[in-house]
Amino acid sequence: MSMQSMVMMTAVIGFYLSGFVYLVNLAFNKKEA
């Protein structure tokens, strides 16, 4: 696996996972609707 692919994979998975975790945290740690 090339270094560029590794960077692309890390960027994509990092973006989505951190985004998802951030949003879930925002929804459930701020208030319960």
Binding site: V7, M8, M9, V12, L26, A33
Partner: protein, 500 residues
């Protein structure tokens, strides 16, 4: 402004059901294949742009419509756009139900393959000839396909019959964590196979110069439109059961991101398994060009038999497929059930009517793969029209007003910037490009018969079936506008209710 008695008992319940709605078989069997065929990394970039330009704007728009009107799609369009436009809601419900008829058959395939994996039907080191024979025997035995279609519909009926919090929410709270656990389990096993990195290299190919190829963008927007559930009428319906002060931006962003995380998990798993287990790169390419059902039920079923504990991995994989299918089948049925409830039926009667009718009208798809393929083609493209109608509802009222007064409510977890408004205005343009491209593609697949309504993947069959649904929707416009419980028509017709 929910008028129904039923409500989600918690925010997590609504979110679990909505993520289940978004994650379907398309995330597992279509995303990896289409991403790999369209450059990998560049496709994922375009698919991410599509999430922000089509998926999230429409999910939020649907939630606005459902939450503020308190009706399923038909009553919601009547109240949001006025009585004359009730037919747009009828189109959305119609397309959703027409997809539900055959989607239950697809869930039946997944259930059947789960049972095959459990009972050890796939012999160690099977060949593709052997798995092709199993697939062909199954799909050409109507008693089998209809039985599993019936079982799928029966499971969904039991859940929907029990209501929103007692059925859909309770089931989703179990199904969604289970689905993610199964996907993570399969993911870990697949990426630790020798040779898995080749698949990841393929999926995350970094050649971003390919972004200049319009086809990649068209495929990415289409995948987003079909996969996120935006524009299907699902969230209009699910939003009916939300609390008045339920947040819109954060909930919809969780749905969109959850959908894409699920797709990436499945993408990494499937691509790693294909490249690690294929005897040659040529074979891996053959697998990727086999289409959704071929990839899943012939090639992956065969490749699983070549690895240690392959039966267990196959069982996990097909169970994940079954759960993904069920969690998407539920909102399809609920869109119909809510409509009949709006017309005055009890949940129990509406459920039996929709699922009973769905079972009967799904039989042709269980009987004939060609029929199912045709329906998938016609109503898959039809969904783009549904998305357009949701955008028109926003544009008619004024997207900027909706953004500032409804979406960015004081209780919202975060405020949506102006990109939402610009995206809503762009959706009609994207619709014209996407639909025109698919029609043009179809004319090149069958240059001599593309206008013939009998051509499975033609333009003629789309036009004929769309006209029939449109004629039904327009012909019943007045009837359905009056039939939906109309206690608040005057209030919302002048749109005062929308921004209250």
């Amino acid at each position: 402004m929910s008028k129904g008695q039923e409500q989600w008992s918690s925010r997590w319940g609504f979110i679990a059901a909505s993520i289940g709605m978004a994650i379907g078989t398309g995330n597992i069997w279509r995303f990896p294949r289409v991403a790999a065929a369209n450059g990998g990394g560049p496709f994922i970039i375009a698919w991410t742009v599509a999430l922000f330009m089509w998926g999230l704007p429409l999910l939020m728009a649907e939630m606005v419509i459902g939450k503020k009107t308190g009706y399923g799609a038909i009553g919601a369009f009547r109240d949001f756009l006025g009585k004359k436009f009730t037919w747009m809601g009828t189109w959305i419900v119609g397309v959703c139900l027409l997809i539900m008829f055959y989607y239950s058959v697809v869930m039946g395939w997944c259930m059947k393959y789960f049972t095959l994996a459990l009972t050890g039907t796939f012999a160690q080191n099977s060949t593709t000839e052997m798995t092709t024979a199993i697939w062909q025997t199954f799909t050409t035995t109507p008693s089998e396909t209809i039985l599993f279609h019936f079982l799928s519909m029966a499971v969904a009926t039991i859940i929907i019959y029990k209501g929103v919090s007692g059925g859909i929410e309770k089931a989703s709270k179990i199904m969604i964590p289970a689905l993610f656990l199964l996907l993570v389990g399969a993911f870990v096993r697949a990426v630790t196979l020798p040779g898995a990195l080749q698949g990841l290299q393929y999926l995350f190919n970094p050649d971003i110069s390919m972004l200049s190829n319009p086809k990649i963008w068209l495929e990415a927007f289409t995948q987003c439109a079909w996969s996120t559930g935006a524009g299907w009428g699902f969230i209009i319906t699910y939003a009916v059961y939300t609390h008045e002060k339920e947040d819109i931006p954060c909930n919809c962003a969780i749905m969109g991101f959850g959908n894409n995380v699920g797709a990436l998990l499945a993408g990494v798993t499937v691509m790693s398994a294909i490249f690690a287990l294929s005897p040659s790169p040529e074979f891996a390419s053959e697998v990727l060009s086999a289409g959704n059902s071929g990839l899943t039920f012939i090639y992956l079923a065969q490749l699983f038999t070549t690895m240690p504990f392959g039966q267990v991995v196959a069982a996990v994989f097909f169970l994940a497929m079954t759960i993904a299918a069920l969690s998407s089948l539920l909102p399809m049925i609920e869109v119909g059930v809510r409509t009949f409830m709006d017309a005055g039926l009890s949940r129990q009667k509406a459920t039996l009517f929709v699922t009973g009718g769905g079972f009967l009208l799904g039989i042709p798809s269980a009987y004939s793969l060609n029929f199912l393929d045709n329906q998938d083609w016609v109503w898959g493209v039809g969904l783009l029209v549904s998305g357009l109608f949701v955008a028109i509802a926003m544009i008619n009222y004024g997207p900027e007003k909706i953004r500032t007064e409804v979406i960015n409510a004081p209780w919202s977890d975060f405020k949506v910037p102006k990109w939402w408004t610009y995206s809503i205005y762009m959706i009609p343009v994207i619709f014209v490009i996407l639909t025109g491209w698919w029609m043009w593609q179809a004319s090149t697949w069958s240059p001599d018969t593309w206008l013939d309504p009998k051509e499975v993947f033609g333009v003629g069959t789309i036009l004929l079936q769309w006209v029939l649904l449109l004629a039904f929707a327009l012909g019943t416009n007045k009837l359905l506008a009056n039939k939906m419980n109309s206690s608040n028509v005057s209030e919302v017709e002048n749109m005062e209710g929308v921004t209250e």
